[in-house]
């Protein structure tokens, strides 16, 4: 009996040979599959990058409490005690108006401007680090702190992060929809290719059945063909994404330097690459399976 491995190797080889029997249409199919896959996969990579950036930014949401200008040392001491007792708060750091002015002068190179000021326009402030990172709870806490006496303004620093997160969630679902639709298209492409294959090999299938081929024997080469086409499409998609990221790398580095950030674009991880290839293989196999089930049983020797 032929060993299973050599039989599979022969089938895979035959599938490749048949895929490129007509090089133009074979390549076109693979490119179409590659492009269809690279769209959602590429967008997914960008999304991953955005989420990574976001995770850095939103790791410590803070609420700034700006006090009214007439807050006295007693008020401040009372507030400090209240904040320390609040179970929702991890810690609260007091920044006096003098310190705030000093920081401002150091960090932004506004020394000259600040030196020209008659009085310190900055209020005293507390920087509160809440225990929760949940958007709703943070909002509740902000409202609660806003009502404290001598508090002029309670500002949730990370509000923009949550807006962005919501936007990313929206994008994620869009990508999911796009990926589902393009996957269906991919199955349809394979379905049709296999149908044409079966039509052109009608004689071969009939002869094989006449001399004792089982259905699975007849089916197998087509399944290999579908899987092969799928995985080659997956590799094409991977190459498209890798090339795009390579081209984007320089502009993004420049852009993030201009914004004073050290953000770099991460390529597809090994796990994601494998997932992409396995998924494309699975889609090809799926299309072939459906097509073979539909078209092969019709061909019987007569």
């Amino acid at each position: 009996m032929m060993s299973a491995i050599s039989q599979h190797a022969r089938l895979a080889q035959n599938a490749l040979r048949r895929l490129f029997a007509s090089p133009v249409s074979g390549l076109l199919n693979i490119i179409v599959i590659g492009i269809a896959l690279s769209l959602p996969a590429g967008m997914y990579v960008l999304l991953q990058n955005a989420q990574g950036m976001l995770a850095q930014a939103s790791s410590s949401p803070q609420i700034s409490l700006f006090l009214t200008m007439d807050a006295s040392a007693d008020d401040i001491a009372r507030l400090r005690k209240q904040l320390a007792q609040n179970p929702a708060i991890d810690k609260a750091v007091f920044i006096s108006r003098a310190d705030a002015l000093k920081n401002l002068a150091q960090s932004n190179g506004l020394t000259d401007v600040i030196a020209g000021l008659e009085s310190n326009p900055l209020p005293d402030a507390f920087v509160v680090s809440p225990k929760t990172t949940h958007a709703k709870a943070l909002d509740d806490l902000r409202n609660e702190l806003q009502k404290l006496p001598r508090v002029d303004l309670a500002q949730l620093d990370s509000a923009w992060v949550y807006k962005l997160e919501a936007m990313l969630e929206f994008t994620r679902i869009m990508i999911l929809i796009l990926a589902s639709l393009l996957s269906l298209a991919l199955i349809a492409i394979t379905f049709n290719t296999i149908r044409l294959q079966i039509m052109t090999q009608r004689d071969e299938i009939q002869v094989a059945k006449l001399i004792g081929a089982t259905n699975s024997f007849v089916r197998r080469p087509f399944l290999y063909f579908g899987a092969m086409q799928g995985i080659l499409g997956g590799i094409t998609a991977w190459l498209i994404i890798a090339l795009s990221l390579y081209l984007l790398k320089q502009p993004i580095a420049t852009l993030s330097r201009l914004y004073g950030s050290n953000f770099t674009l991460h390529p597809l991880s090994l796990g994601d690459s494998l997932t992409l290839l396995l998924f494309s293989l699975y889609l090809g196999l799926m299309g072939a399976w459906l097509s073979v089930g539909r078209h092969l049983s019709v061909i019987e020797p007569s």
Binding site: M1, M2, K209, L210, I211, G212
Partner: protein
């Protein structure tokens, strides 16, 4: 080996190809199936390989009623039956060697054994030197012999031939008859449909004669009935 019991076959549209056909073919026996075209010869052969199923009666192959066989079991029945077709049914997208190799691939033989058996089968039909050729480059007689090589490479116990010499001149037909005789001698069961009078005259082989779908009394003495 092969036994027909009151078998009738009607095609959709009402044409009755076989009417109440009963006969038996013993293991190792060789017989000619004769009759004019349209007499039902091809239909009878198709019923043995279950390419068609009878409307009534039973067809036994190796004591198994094949007319009720599930379609999933058919491949295993057909592997034991070598079929030779008038139109050869060769595949022109591959070499002579690959054509003969197909039944062995279907049964899952390993590479080495396949090569040996294919060459042995090609040798038997005198095509050993042509294994790399494309079947399209072969003459009609050579194509028929290639078809025979493919039918026997798997060493089936039954050989069915449908008009194997139909399009060939007498000389080629003689060669092919010789090949059939050699299989008969090694114990295969053969049923050969033909209307080639020349082929029938100089043999002592049993004849099963069909006329309008019915078996006729034998036209020649049945002296060749027992295998030699």
């Amino acid at each position: 080996m092969i036994s027909f019991n009151q078998v009738s076959k009607r095609y959709p549209g009402g044409f009755e190809a076989l009417k109440n056909v009963s006969f038996e073919l013993a293991k190792g026996e060789m017989a000619f199936l004769t009759g004019h075209s349209g007499a039902g010869k091809s239909t009878l052969l198709k019923l043995i390989a279950v390419i068609e199923r009878p409307n009534s009666g039973s067809v036994l192959v190796n004591n198994q009623n094949v007319s009720v066989l599930k379609s999933a079991a058919l491949p295993y029945l057909r592997r034991n039956i070598g079929m030779i077709f008038q139109d050869h049914k060769l595949l022109f997208d591959r070499s002579v060697f690959d054509n003969v190799q197909l039944p062995l691939q279907i049964c899952g033989f390993d590479h080495k054994e396949t090569g040996k058996r294919v060459r042995a089968a090609l040798d038997k039909v005198g095509l050993l030197g042509r294994e790399k050729a494309n079947p399209i480059a072969l003459s009609g007689g050579e194509q028929q012999r290639l078809c025979i090589a493919r039918a026997i490479v798997n060493r089936p116990s039954i050989l069915l031939a449908d008009e194997p010499t139909g399009n060939l001149d007498a000389e080629y037909a003689q060669e092919i008859m010789k090949i059939f005789n050699s299989f008969h001698q090694v114990g295969a069961t053969l049923l050969i449909s033909t209307h080639d009078a020349g082929m029938l005259q100089n043999s002592h082989v049993r004849m099963i004669c069909l006329k309008h779908g019915e078996i006729q009394p034998a036209e020649s003495p049945r002296e060749g009935e027992t295998p030699s």
